[in-house]
């Protein structure tokens, strides 16, 4: 069970949230080549260790925010704003 530090509502149980994944920048769709588009669509860092990710507070403030999480231990700390 994770305690997610919502910057607006304070720490809450992870069941109130939806995991929204690693943030990525969309390439220019008019110029992008297939390998780059594939990378944007499908490839993730999938790192074992500290990652920066987005969560969405579904049953709360209904806002997206950044969280840092260690994917090996599931330790969580507030993420710096994007």
């Amino acid at each position: 069970m994770l305690l997610i530090p919502c910057p607006h509502c304070g720490p809450r149980n992870s069941s109130e949230f939806r995991y929204a994944g690693e943030g990525r920048r969309r390439p220019d769709v008019t110029a992008v080549m297939p390998p780059e588009w594939r990378s944007y669509l499908y490839e993730r860092r999938n790192a074992a260790g500290w990652v920066r990710e987005s969560w969405y507070h579904t049953f709360g403030c209904r806002r997206f925010f950044a969280v840092e999480r260690d994917t090996v231990t599931n330790a969580v700390r507030p993420g710096s704003p994007a």
């Binding site: 995991y19 594939r38 669509l41 499908y42 074992a48 994917t71």
Partner: protein, 420 residues
Amino acid sequence: MTARKPARYSAFDLVRRGLTRRDWPRSWREHDLNSSYDVVVIGAGVHGLACAYYLAANHGITNVAVLDKGYLGGGGSGRNTAIIRSNYLTPEGVAFYDRSVKLYENLAAELNFNVMFEQRGHLTLAHNDSSLRTMRWRAEVNKLQGVNSEVIGPADIKRLVPYMDVSPESRYPILGALYHPPGGTIRHDAVNWGYARAADVLGVQIHQNTEVLGIDVVGDRVTGVRTNRGAVAAPIVVNCTAGWASLVSALAGVTLPITTYPLQAAVTEPVKTFLRTVVVSGTLHVYVSQTDRGELVFGASVDPYPSYSMRGSLEFTEELAGHVLELMPGIASLRVLRQWAGLCDMTPDYSPIMGVTPVDGFLLDVGWGTYGFKAGPVSGETMAELVATGKTPELIASFDLARFADGRLVGEKGAAAVGH
């Protein structure tokens, strides 16, 4: 590599050793790590061991090392819920998993190891019109491929599983099910040990506690691996890992479209046999089967966020218990004995990634999501063929890494997401 004469397991041998009190020989040997092999397989789970076994048995390639950072069968191969089936959705998937079921049917005889494969039948429940539609679709795809699957109604389900609540008053009424008689359960440890023992007999070396720390690539060719026990040269390296597949591939500079999620399972105290069939419900995110010992094995869908942690959670147990009781209210007083998690390498289309990579000699048998164990034998067989002949077998051609760039995804979510 030296082959050796195996101890033949038989009822006669059991009696003889019982009377003479002679010890059984070790099932596989330990070796010093050589400085080079013809083939290095990373991961001593069912995929890696089967690949090594078929390399030796089908192609006579025995100078093979199987490396594992932990113990044999300690990853997904020892953590899955041991369900075997071939009732998939895509023609590519059905043909592939059907070959695996065929290999499993003959595996105990081939390996001289009782893998306890029981084809008890497999039920995937439909609780709404859209899943009933998917079940009909799967049944038709299956029949065209010669796989025994059909859609049955609540009365037939009740006959197969008398303890199931099929009344229209339940919270998620059961409208029908995809019934797949060849599906069933197996003893997963026996499969791992059987392949390991048979590969060892043929001269394959199995190295446990041997972690691959680096993969050497010169130009665009793989030349070997570096481990915690020293460097090993090899012209072919096969990545058969699960959970760490993307990290191991990254050592060779190959990026994979994989995200790793834990999947939790649990087992109850043993009771007298009352559930023969494997029962799966996608809507309720649960699957149930009863082992030969009488324990009920429960599995769920993957956790809601990616992680490499293999700890269980209370939320999982609560949700799982609630869902199982929707199906079978009569088992409410059963106690859960233990729970665990395994790591699942999820791909965007719920199909595996098999075959060649941009790095010559570095081959993939990864991305096994939540459906890896049932594919062990056929993956080993086809990967061994790829290594030996240099040509990608037809059966796995559509699972190549290049499909993601080319837009040739093999969408298997409708049959792989929760149905195990």
